[in-house]
Symmetry: C4
Subunit: 372 residues, 4 copies
């Protein structure tokens, strides 16, 4: 049972907790860090680390999808981003890399994303990634899934990510034929990841569409403004734990289908990753932390997909002071800075070792303390 508060007469609100509100608690056992595994597998695809890239153009180009794949994570290209709007977006990415954090940046984002998507470029990008040897995963928005799916499937992807800020299993529209996720997924024979969602009910219904993975959260970080623009703020610790309960209930009602939870939001440091997994996530979706790599597509600039919305942008344009190091250094260290942004998965591994856990599934049971 949730902790429900009556904020006013007859008006209940559920209490929610952010990852910042909690910390993980060591048990009475510790373990050698070399005995700890961070391996994760989605459907037939094994990964050394539970790391999925947030499909922003600021982090994922065909090259970085390949690089992340080689390093043991899952890269995802946004097929509604710059790489399918421009034959060669490198000049635009360079320009964006040079923009400052002023008001004009949003207007410029809106302009460059006003260019239409060229479906033929989708096939081209998929080929590039496949030739690079990586698992091919692309992101489409729910609105464009029906239109883009044929092209995407034709191009031959391994994992399809259908992602919007908020995705539900039941989209209602009198304006256009809405996507019926359940029917759509049933017709595919590749694993689909779908989200974001923020609570037990939506997570459960998304699981029932047949998705292999569900994204929990709306990707909120300090650049996101979903909160101020829409009034929607997701306490990630609660959202992940609630979705994990949906995963258990769905596992029970299906007699064994395990749907993976990918946490997307409030994730800056290895400590945040450890907490998200400790709340019950199977993997994390990283955006801005990967934009700090010296080989990131936009040279340290960072923006969400929603930041370029033509009428209602919901994310600020951020610029890192200087790159932190290679993608490998960000994922595996060695760190020469103590702030938790380098050696992200070495940090996770050590946290698991300090708490005595051997693998990620066990670590979902780690003790938590609520101290804020």
């Amino acid at each position: 049972m949730h902790d429900v508060v009556e904020i006013g007469l007859g008006k209940p609100a559920q209490r929610g907790y952010h990852l910042d509100d909690i910390a993980i608690v060591p048990s009475r056992r510790t373990r050698d860090v070399d005995d700890v595994s961070t391996a994760w597998q989605l459907d037939a695809y094994p990964f050394r680390i539970p790391c999925v890239a947030h499909p922003s153009d600021a982090t994922m180009s065909p090259d970085t999808v390949i690089a992340l794949g080689r390093l043991g994570g899952l890269g995802v290209l946004n097929v509604e981003g710059l790489w399918t709007r421009y034959e060669d977006p490198s000049k635009i990415l360079s320009e964006l890399a040079g923009l400052g954090e002023d008001a004009g940046a949003t207007a410029r984002l809106q302009e460059v994303y006003a260019e239409p998507i060229h479906p033929d470029l989708i096939g081209e990008r998929v080929r590039q990634i496949r030739e690079g040897g990586a698992t091919v995963s692309v992101r489409v928005s729910p609105q464009h899934t029906l239109a883009l799916a044929p092209v995407v499937l034709d191009a031959g992807v391994d994992i399809l990510v259908i992602q919007g800020t908020i995705v539900s299993a039941e989209h209602v529209s009198t304006v256009e034929q809405p996507l019926n996720l359940k029917e759509f997924i049933a017709d595919l024979d590749l694993p689909v990841i779908v989200g974001g969602c923020t609570n037990y009910q939506t997570a459960l219904h998304l699981m029932r569409t047949g998705a292999a993975g569900v994204i929990v959260g709306v990707g909120a970080d300090e650049w996101s403004t979903t909160d101020t623009v829409l009034g929607i703020r997701v306490p990630m610790a609660t959202a992940i734990a609630d979705a994990a309960e949906a995963r258990r209930d769905y596992l029970d009602e299906t007699g064994g289908r395990y749907v993976h939870l990918i946490a997307d939001g409030d994730l800056q440091t290895s400590g945040d990753i450890a907490k998200a997994l400790g709340c019950g996530a199977d993997a994390v979706m990283l955006g801005e932390p990967l934009s700090l790599a010296e080989d990131a597509p936009a040279g340290g600039a960072w923006w969400h997909s929603a930041a370029s919305h033509p009428k209602l942008p919901r994310g600020a344009f951020g610029v890192a002071e200087e790159p932190l190091g290679s993608l490998e250094k960000i994922l595996y260290g060695p760190a020469d800075d103590p702030d938790g942004k380098l050696n992200l998965f070495g940090g996770l591994k050590r946290a698991m070792a300090k708490c005595g856990y051997r693998d990620l599934k066990e670590f979902q049971k780690v003790g938590l303390v609520l101290d804020r």
Copy 2:
């Protein structure tokens, strides 16, 4: 039942929550944004958006009342403000627009408001607004209602707003004949909006005066100092929800009179507006957000009525760095800034769509999370 805490032996306090403490929670359904309506109607007056202007001279001149009306909102002119103290206040408004945020600004406000009200100017202003084609709504303070009402009614207003920081249905005075709101309103045949109030009891008693609308809150924003000067601070989420309970109870006791709640306080962004409506408000009263329009009367300066009190000012004088854009852009976008201050009602509409709601009355039932 409220959550009551004993802050010391024998001393109870009710727990209250601010809009910042809560967020709205998507449901398991989403909806096409084009299927969502933000229409609102007060008595015989329909509005495209649930937007009432805070009657400060910083936002409302006869011209901006007309402009807001054309855009689908309700403008309210303060007939105890500069427009009834000066034949042509434009020179003073220009001067105020040029003042900085220093201590002297308050003293200057006190001076310009020391000029007496000229009753004949009231009729003049009302005519201007009526000629502009807008619904005519003016604000009087409870103290001056008896004196100014004849002039105001004579001039022919559509909606009368009787507003003070705190207004009760039972004002006690041995010094002068107090306003009996119930008798006063019974004698009128136009809708009256009255407030602010901060709790269930006061809201219910104000509803019983026959008011068509009740203002909830004291208009507090970051420039307001009601808190430091009077020790009164209104947790808006709680105040709105409590007043909504009073609305339900009054609806029941009258067999069907629905009194509209207009939230006034803590409203800066489209997210705040969504939250206030989600707590149960029927409309929002906006002050400072409208002062950022490039056509605002005081060129971006902002002050509450209470900021010019001759002996006990209760609001700071604020100056915006630069205007955000036209009034239309503030209300309907397109936004080119992601901080929630542009496209206020486009943001509201999208929040409603993300949560699966069709109209404002339904949206009052949206789920809430308490996460701070």
Copy 3:
């Protein structure tokens, strides 16, 4: 019953609330401000406002004691301060007025207070105040009460204030003969104010010594460091409410002796004063707010008595940017600044009016909201 939390296994802590955590709540009635009285009376001494000065040399000289008395409050001179250590402390006060807020200020305070107290100067200061026509009230520390009392009483004071950071009714010492407050007070026939104290038990025992008034709190403000040095932090809302319960219980056990509670701490603005009285205090003790008067003894500098302790100072030396205005303007306005530091008791009066109360005793029952 207090809200008690187990912070760890077997370790309870009482929940406490600061004045900042709460706000006062208007009732369904409002009242004309001219019908409100802020009068207060201690023993035979009536005051227009419930204002006692904190006996710091930064606020109270013989002249300002007289000035505050004329304005309707109670000034208190510290007879262990500069006025009894120096024939003419004006040169030292001027020097202190010129010191900045750097580390050296504390060392200089320690030096100037190292000068011994000259008992003959006590009589001199008392005479000055009496000649000025004010109620004569002086402060001694519990440690020096036995030594200084004969001189003080001989000089003829009206109200004696025995004040230390923490004063108990039962001081234990094997080193020197401790002050037995109960016997000491029984022998006097003038009203004694004693404190500070922080909880029900101590307040009740101090009442049983026969004191006419009990100081609640340790005078903590943003310059005080009692918290960081001693680990003692007083949530004033809780402390005042608890002491008010002790006052009720003592009233009952004595069949009618009413002991006045003087709140000392967390008081910067008229809003804070309203909240302290709303929690149950009879009067407030003001230090730094009075140091901002243009006629304050140390020209805007501010320090607590404890700030000059030779081995363990517990308060920083503060310097106001510029005086706010005359003492009269600080107490009664008119304010030309909206931040609650001017017109302190006009603000209180208006808060009482907005909440519908007529006098201070009634206002102790005002509703509270806990919103932080």
Copy 4:
């Protein structure tokens, strides 16, 4: 019973409280400060103050171990630090003293700690300390205990400190033979202090290893990044109180073995020390507060052992603006600054006196208030 919250469906978290969340509460009695004792004894070793040095090279050299011993505390040398890696580390310490707080500092720390430990230097350092007349106490990490113990014991230490960020009684490894603390300690006939730990279970199991003292906390202060890197954050008030319950239970199960609790974390001021002891600690472990002494080994620079980890540093390199004064002044005053960093144990003594307590064991029962 702990206060347990369900942060999401089926996911409990224990509520924890930091020292900053609480304060100590005076009782109805006060005591003469000269009647208060801060004496502490561990095994056969008596100390004037309950002060153990955090074994960082920034605070503890052979000379400062001796100096702290003379002043009545317990100095601890890290035998895995610079003093056993370099014949004469003074040049390196000087260099570190001159580093700023930039990113490069961590890399430099990693370099200087890459030098191997020279076991013969261990004996040399122990001899230096013994000749200086101080109790000889050295720190080893759990990983190196088996390798270094023979050398350390041979050199003849009085008290052995086995300290890592998180130490458990049950370390699991398939990679190398793990340290069996219980067997290891049983074979020794000198008192062992072991830790850090963060909760009841781990504390109890560490007590059962036969340790004379258990370190509670992970040494977190504002320079520590254990939180951001590992997701582990220790609410010290709760951790200490929980460990105190383990101490009581262990005392009961053994029929009288009293294990000392040494709090390590969140300790900056005398107020913090008072609160840690009031929660149930027997002594405090001080790091950064001692690095501010003018005779500190690294001239005001401060870093944890974990700050030099070669792959995953977990602490920032800090530099004090200027030394606060001699070690004696820091411990015993006189203070000429009111911020609680000077006269640490004079402050503790006065806090005990204000609350009416005579010795440390009694003071563990002091009342607490939870006010944040």
